[in-house]
Symmetry: C3
Subunit: 352 residues, 3 copies
C-alpha cells in the first residue's frame, strides 16, 4: 500500500519510446527567485540585473536569467526521468525561445526519444526531449537530455536500441527568438561593464574569466531545492556516506550557473544564452571545491534579418581547484584535462 | 541604565495568568520569503507553487505555505515568551483560519493561559494561546504552546498552578476555513504530482516519505532569522560551545518544514495543513543530521457542508540519521524510538 | 587579446585625481533582496519589516534597509576601485538622502578625491567619493571611502599626494532627508519593540546588544554576491589557502549588517541610519567567528525644523568571540581592544 503512494522513480525498463510525461509541479517564478539566484551565483549581466536597463533597450522589464528557466524546467523532470539515474550524460539542441519574466508560471513535459541498454545489463541510457512552457502555453525552452538510469531488474528484456540523431549545433537561423527587437541606442556599454560587442570577438580567442567561487553544502542544497530538484545524491549525506564518493554531489546545474556568472568577466555583453549546443558534466564537484572558468570562441554568426544582435558560439569550460589561465581542456591523448568539471557549447547573443 | 534598554526576556516569575502580550515586529510576507522558503526546504505542493494552479481552483493566487505563517507568528513570540526557555514542550489546538498571500502583514499576540512551577523550583511551564493576525485584523492562525522557562530567582514564590485543558484534537467541523470553495474541475492531479484524493487514504496506512535532507548551519540560521526568531541557542556557537550540547540547536520549526516538504512524496495532494492537533520536539537536531520522515493516517473526516475537500489526520514523524522505511515511533516500553526528533499530529486537507 | 576582455582591476598608478567612474551594473532592488537580507541578518526594525507600520507613519510602504542600499552601491565600485585592494581603510561623510523602495534601480559613480603612495612604494591609498542614484537620477546615498591598493609596478612614479579634508562628523542639519514627514500618532511603540524615544538616550550611555551570531561561509558568500561584490578574497578558498590568513575573509559589510541587526536589542526605535560619520574594519572576520555588538551614545541632536524625529550619534562596536557586556573598545594605550572587528560612528534617527 505504501509503495502505491510514494514515488520510487522510474527504472530503465519503465521507459518506452514515444512515452510522454507531463511533469509535476508548475512553478511561478518571482523576483524572490531572482534575488536568491543573485545571492547564490553573483551574476552581473545588466539586462537581467536592472529593469531600467532592460526597458531602455526594448524589454518590458528584466527577463530572468536563462539558467533559472533551464534549472526550473530540468528540476521538474527529475522525479519522472532521473530519480534512479547513475549519471546525467549530456545535453543537446537546447534553445531558449521566449523570455521569462517574474510572475510567469513554468511547467515541463518530456517525450522519450531514445533508449539503449548498456552492455552490463544493469542500466541503460534514456534520451528525452523536454519542453518548458509558460502560463500562455508558449514553449519557452526545449532541450534533449540523455541520462544513464539503473534497471530495477537486470534480467528485464532490453528495448530495441534507438539512439536519436542530434544536431551538432543549433542552426543560427533559429537563434534569438527570446530577444525582442532591441533599440541599441539605449544600451549603455559603460553600465553594462565592458565595451565589447559581437564583432569584437574572434574565432579562436580564449578568455580566462579570472574569478572563482568556492562551493558550500548549504549553497548547492539551497540552489537545487529552489528548482524543486529532488535527486537524492545532492541532499542525503547519511546515505551518500555509504556511496562511491562518501559525500553529497553538487547538482551539475550549479556548476553551469557559477561558470556562466564568472564568464561576465570577459563576456559582459553576452547577456543571453540563446542555445546550448551540447554539454557534459565531465566530473563531479563537491562542497569545498573552487570553481574557475574560461571560454573559447568557436564561431560567430549573424542571426538572419537581425541587425541589433549577433551570435557567438563559445565553449565554456569550468574547472575545479585549477585556474583557467592556461585554458585546460583536453590532454594530448584527447582525454578531459585534469580539473575539468563542465564542458558547455553555447550560442550567446550580444549587441552588434 | 543599560538593562533598561536591552530586553533580557521574561523569566518564569514574570508571567501571570491572563497576561496579554502584543508582540513586536509586524512583518510583511513577500514572494521573496516564498522563494527563500522553497530554497530552504524544497516544498512542491502545486497550490503554493503555482499562481496558475491556485487560480485554476478558486484561489486569487498562491497562498503562502502554512508553515511560513506558523514560523512567522511563532518567531514574534520568542522575545516575550521563550527567550529564557529551556525547552519548547508542545503545541495544541493550532488552526489555520484565513489564507495568507504575499503582501499580507502578520502580527502576533499571546495570552498566558496556564502556569505550573517545576518541582525543582528552578523553572516552570508557561502555557500561551497565540494568535496571528493579518493587516485586516483577521485571525489567520491560533495555537497553544507550552514551554519550560527558567526562573530568575529560584526562591521566587510559585504561582497557583493552572494547567489548561486542551482538546485532544481539533474538531473536524472547524477545519478548512483557510480554503476557499474550490472548483476541482481545475485541479490537475498529474501536475499536482499524484492521483491520490482524500478517499484514497485509509486509517492505519503508513507512508515512508523516502527522501531525506542533511541540515547545514547556514540553512537553519537563515531560516530562523527569516522568521525573526531570536532564540540564542540557534545562533551563538561561542556560547553554545560551553553548553550541554557544545553546538547550536536547530530551531524545531526547521524540522517541521523539512518533514512537511518531504511528505509531498506520498501526500502530494494534501496541500493544506488545516490544524496541528499536537506536536512535540522529541530530541534536538544539529547541523550535519539527515532528516527523514514518515506518516501514519490516524483518522479521516468529512468537513461539514464541504463537498470539495476532506480532512485526513496524520501523524508526521521526523527522524534523524535513520530512514523511515520501518516506521520508527515508539519502543515496546512506550518510549520514543531511537532517531525520532519530531512527532506531529496534523489535520491535512485534500481534494475529494 | 585575452587581457583586453578580462577586467584585471585598477592598480594604484591607474588612478588620477578627479578621475570619474560610472560603475557597472545597475541593479533593481526587490522584495526578494529584502527577504534574503532578513534571512542573512535577522533585522527587526518595524519600519522596514512591515508595510502597514510604514504606511501608518507616512511612508508609501516599507523602505529597504539602509545597509542594503550601502552594500549595493559599494558592491558596484569594487571592480573599478578595489579589485586589487589590500585593505579597506575607512569611510566618512556617508549620508542617506532619499528612501529606497523595492522596484527602485540603483547605480553608482565615483570620483577620485585623494591619492597618497605608501612609503614602501608597493601600494598607495585611494580616496573616492561615491554616489548612489535611483532611476529618477536622485542621489540616494553618498560617502567617501579610502582603500589601500596595490601598485602594478613598484617603480611607477608616485602622484602628488593629496589627502582630502573630511568632516569629523556629518552636520546634524543635513540629516534625515531620507525620512518623510512622519505622523507619530501612527507609531506603535509596542509593535516596534521598545518604548525608548530620541529623548530617552543620554550621552555616555552604553548598551550591550546581548545577542550574537556565528558566521558561516555560505552566509557571507551569499550576502556578498547579492550585492554583486566581486572581491576575490571573499570567495576563492583555493587561492586564499596560499595567503596570509589561509582562508576566505568576510566582507566587512556583513559585519556592519550583523552589528546593525543585533543593535535592535537596545535601539529598537533607531529605525534609520541617517549617516555614517566614520567607520573602520579593525580586524578581519572569518567563518566560525561569533559576532557580538555594543553601542555608546556619543551625542544627541535635534534636526532643524523637524519635530517628528531627532538624531542620536552612536558608536557601534562589533566584536568577535567576545561578549560586549564590558564594552571593549580601546586598551589603555589607545590600541584597539582584543576582539574588536568594527568601529562605526553613526547618526541614527528616532521618533521624538
Amino acid at each position: 500500500m505504501t509503495a502505491a503512494k510514494t514515488n520510487p522513480g522510474n527504472f530503465f525498463e519503465d521507459f518506452s519510446l514515444g512515452q510522454l510525461f507531463a511533469h509535476a509541479t508548475p512553478r511561478t517564478i518571482t523576483t524572490g527567485d531572482v534575488a536568491l539566484y543573485t545571492g547564490l551565483y553573483g551574476p552581473r549581466f545588466a539586462v537581467q540585473s536592472s529593469d531600467e536597463f532592460a526597458r531602455g533597450i526594448g524589454y518590458p522589464r528584466s527577463p530572468v536569467d536563462d539558467l533559472i528557466v533551464f534549472h526550473t524546467v530540468f528540476g521538474k523532470t527529475v522525479p519522472d526521468i532521473s530519480l534512479n539515474a547513475i549519471a546525467n550524460l549530456g545535453y543537446a539542441e537546447c534553445r531558449f525561445l521566449v523570455p521569462v519574466f517574474p510572475g510567469d508560471t513554468l511547467s515541463a513535459a518530456s517525450e522519450v526519444i531514445g533508449l539503449r541498454e548498456n552492455s552490463n545489463r544493469a542500466s541503460g541510457v534514456v534520451y528525452v526531449r523536454t519542453t518548458g512552457r509558460n502560463q500562455k502555453g508558449e514553449t519557452v525552452l526545449e532541450y534533449v537530455r540523455w541520462v544513464m538510469v539503473r534497471k530495477r531488474d537486470t534480467l528485464a528484456a532490453p528495448p530495441a536500441p534507438v539512439v536519436p540523431k542530434l544536431a551538432e549545433r543549433v542552426d543560427p537561423a533559429s537563434l534569438g527568438r527570446a530577444v525582442p527587437p532591441l533599440d541599441l541606442s539605449g544600451y549603455d556599454f559603460t553600465l553594462a561593464g565592458a565595451p565589447h560587442r559581437w564583432g569584437d570577438y574572434a574565432v579562436g580567442e580564449k578568455i580566462d574569466h579570472a574569478d572563482a567561487m568556492t562551493l558550500e553544502e548549504a549553497e548547492h542544497q539551497i540552489a537545487t531545492r529552489l528548482y524543486q530538484n529532488t535527486a537524492r545524491v545532492h541532499f542525503n549525506q547519511h546515505a551518500q556516506a555509504q556511496g562511491q564518493f562518501r559525500r553529497r554531489l553538487v547538482y551539475g546545474g550549479v556548476i553551469m550557473s557559477l561558470a556562466r556568472a564568472l564568464s561576465f568577466n570577459g563576456l559582459a555583453n553576452a547577456f543571453h544564452i540563446a542555445a546550448i549546443n551540447g554539454g557534459r558534466h565531465v566530473a563531479p564537484s563537491f562542497a569545498g571545491d573552487t570553481i574557475y572558468a574560461w571560454s573559447e570562441i568557436l564561431e560567430t554568426a549573424e542571426i538572419p534579418v537581425r541587425r541589433d544582435v549577433g551570435a557567438v558560439r563559445a565553449r565554456l569550460v569550468a574547472l575545479k581547484n585549477r585556474p583557467g589561465a592556461d585554458f585546460p581542456w583536453k590532454t594530448a591523448s584527447g582525454a578531459d584535462a585534469e580539473g575539468v568539471v563542465l564542458d558547455l557549447d553555447l550560442w550567446l547573443v550580444l549587441p552588434r
